[in-house]
């Protein structure tokens, strides 16, 4: 029997059984579905039935309709949510980025308050070299770029070895399921791909780094992605025109072939297969927790650290720009037993809000420097702020997004340039849905946000050359 039986303690005055009053802090399972776009979930509006388990989960959870990540990449986004600090406040956004040992992390604080803490991650940008083991009693990252297949079974093995908890537990479960390469094992790899998909579309989907070799509808089969589009191209492409035009046309020395509209849809369908794969393993994880009797005394939180561009700006990736496909993420909180399930919160939420929310659930006090606010408390509409490693910052309000491009949030010159930049010039982009006064307001809010955060000047790196090489293999080239 779980420790938390009582759902509404205030109503259970004197008539409750004695054991029901034995209310300790609940277990917390925090699930990170890497690279999962919010709009792929049925509960966020997708009509294709890609995520039956997550949709079922939503009926038992509080869902945040407008949740936004603080960064476009796994490394920066997780560091931000684990500390409730914006990425730039932790360190410059390059691959020397590191979660300092002195940082007050979610796991570290929960550990101080008596939690047993364990992480089951897909490694990669969550490798312990980046400092993410900070605060965890156990930290698994055995498979680089691992998926829920690995981390869910890692958690199960951990629970098999220690089935009787001595303390409340905090588990972090993470998988790169929807991350490129999208292709996943059968039947998911081609679950949503048309039977008449072309050989070319199949090649893009199947080949290593295939989707990152697609730019503006052209496939460059032998090219190193870094030579096709780099940060410079996106920085010059502030008006969101053709990337290849920005680059001066198709690189003539590289072999390339035009993909049809149908081919491009099939690439998207491969991503959808990866989404369904993540969903299936999420369902298996929930079944495992149910079988162990844990769901009645466990808070389960599901989110994504960032989404993915699926050709909206000519590429299939998530590092380039602060757009909604990349930053709008699913976020759901299921209380023990599914209490209060089905509620939907419309107000803007940020991933930095997770730390104060979960610490409150765990009976802990958030660090004084935490930026977020309790997601389950009263919400006041305010923009979500995000940063990209390619020198972009943005504010996302209820009706649209404003992006400022060209200088990173850590630059000492940002405030001056933000003030002087021409609204009609190349530095600003905003959603068509925004009215003029809303754009001005978001600009002011962005400037105020930048004044509030204080980037540290010192940066440390403990990244090994081997880890650096693994990142390059996965398509992450130097940001500088």
């Amino acid at each position: 029997m779980g420790r938390l039986v009582l759902l509404l303690p205030a109503l259970c005055l004197s008539g409750c059984p004695e054991e029901a009053l034995d209310v300790g802090p609940p277990n917390i399972v925090l699930v990170s579905l890497d690279t999962m776009r919010a709009d792929r979930l049925g509960v966020y509006g997708h009509p294709g039935g890609l995520t039956p388990n997550l949709d079922q989960f939503a009926s038992e959870a509080v869902l945040f309709e407008s949740a936004y990540a603080q960064a476009t990449e796994t490394l920066f986004s997780h560091a931000s949510l684990f500390t409730s600090r914006y990425p730039t406040e932790i360190g410059p956004m390059d691959y020397d980025f590191n979660l300092p040992e002195t940082a007050h992390t979610l796991a570290g604080v929960l550990g101080t308050y008596g939690y047993e803490t364990a992480a089951f991650t897909g490694g990669g940008h969550l490798h312990r070299d980046f400092g993410f083991a900070n605060g965890f009693d156990t930290y698994q990252h055995d498979v680089d770029w691992g998926v829920l297949y690995h981390s869910v079974q890692g958690m199960a093995a951990y629970l098999d070895a220690a089935p009787i908890p001595e303390k409340p537990r905090f588990f972090f479960v993470h998988g790169y399921d929807a991350h490129p390469r999208y292709l996943k094992p059968p039947p998911f790899g081609f679950l949503h791909v048309d039977e008449d998909a072309s050989d070319l579309a199949e090649e893009v989907v199947v080949s290593h780094m295939g989707t990152t070799r697609v730019v503006d509808g052209y496939y460059f089969p032998g090219a190193e992605p870094a030579t096709l589009v780099d940060q410079g191209a996106f920085r010059k492409n502030r008006k969101r025109k053709s990337l290849l035009r920005t680059l001066g046309g198709r690189p003539p020395h590289l072999e390339h072939v035009r993909l049809s509209e149908h081919d491009l849809l099939q690439i998207e369908a491969a991503y959808d297969g990866a989404v369904s794969y993540a969903d299936a393993w999420f369902g298996l994880m929930m079944a495992d927790l149910e079988e162990r009797g844990m769901l009645d005394d466990t808070v389960v939180v599901v989110f994504s650290d960032h989404g993915e561009e699926l050709g909206e700006q000519g590429v299939y990736n998530h590092r380039y720009s602060l757009s909604d496909p990349i930053l709008h993420v699913p976020l759901m909180i299921r209380m023990p037993g599914g209490e209060g399930g089905g509620r939907r919160i419309r107000e803007t939420a940020e991933l930095v809000d997770l730390l104060p929310t979960l610490l409150k659930i765990g009976g802990a006090v958030p660090p004084a420097l935490a930026r977020g606010t309790d997601l389950l408390g009263p919400r006041v509409e305010s923009p979500a702020f995000s940063e990209g490693p390619l020198r972009e910052i943005s504010a996302r309000g209820a009706t649209g997004r404003l992006i400022f491009t060209g200088v990173g949030a850590d630059s000492p010159y940002l405030s001056d340039l933000l003030t002087v930049a021409d609204m009609e010039g190349p530095a600003f982009w905003w959603s068509d849905s925004l009215k003029e006064e809303e754009v001005s307001k978001l600009r002011d809010q962005l400037a105020a946000w930048r004044r509030e955060i204080s980037p540290p000047r010192a940066a440390t790196s403990s990244l090994s050359e081997q880890q650096r090489e693994l990142l390059r293999e996965k398509g992450y080239w130097d940001l500088r």
């Binding site: 998911f188 079944a287 399930g341 000492p412």
Partner: protein
């Protein structure tokens, strides 16, 4: 109110809201999608379309009925390690040029100078600093260096021609405004 009452009733009777998570339910929707003819099993013809990179059908049909049932699908999902499932791998071309390390200061100076250029690019009547000048200024790691002063000076002139007030940065405003256009630092 209904939630409160149901919670109270649940408390009084030691119950929690009924939820049901099983591995069968987790994979049932996927099974239904694969069972195209709704026969209750996934026949070889149905499986072929989705089998890319996976084991032969006979290996999956554990009970030899000629069709996969839900339990066999669950076993398959649990069996195939995505880390070992790799399909065709194309060789990686590691042709990213080796470059000298770039410091944070180089990036910050370079970003700011490029920003000031991009803001007024396209305005006729003046010459923008050459790429090499901007590079040298960036590599000086300071807005106060002679290289940066030269670039800032040109930019200040260009901004004036464009009818824009040149921004006074935290460590360049007075430097740039002191030097007449075109003068050497």
């Amino acid at each position: 109110m209904i939630v409160l009452l149901s919670g109270l009733v649940g408390c009084l009777f030691g119950e929690v809201p009924a939820v049901s998570w099983t591995s069968q339910e987790a994979l049932r929707p996927t099974f239904a999608r694969l069972d195209l003819d709704r026969s209750g099993g996934i026949e070889p013809g149905e499986w072929t379309r989705y089998s890319y990179g996976g084991p032969a059908f006979a290996e999956l049909d554990l009970d030899g009925t000629g069709a996969l049932d839900l339990e066999e699908l669950i076993a398959l999902v649990r069996r195939i390690d995505p880390a070992g499932f790799d399909g065709e791998r194309l060789p990686i071309k590691t042709n990213v040029a080796e470059v000298a390390p770039v410091t944070r200061e180089i990036r910050e100076v370079g970003d700011a100078l490029l920003f000031l250029i991009e803001e007024i690019r396209g305005t006729p009547g003046f010459l923008l600093p050459a790429k090499e000048e901007v590079r040298d200024a960036s590599w000086s790691e300071s807005m106060r260096s002679p290289e940066s002063r030269a670039v800032l000076n040109k930019l200040r002139h260009a901004w004036n021609v464009a009818g824009r007030e040149f921004p006074s940065g935290p460590d360049w405003g007075e430097v740039a405004s002191d030097d007449p256009p075109g003068s050497s630092p």
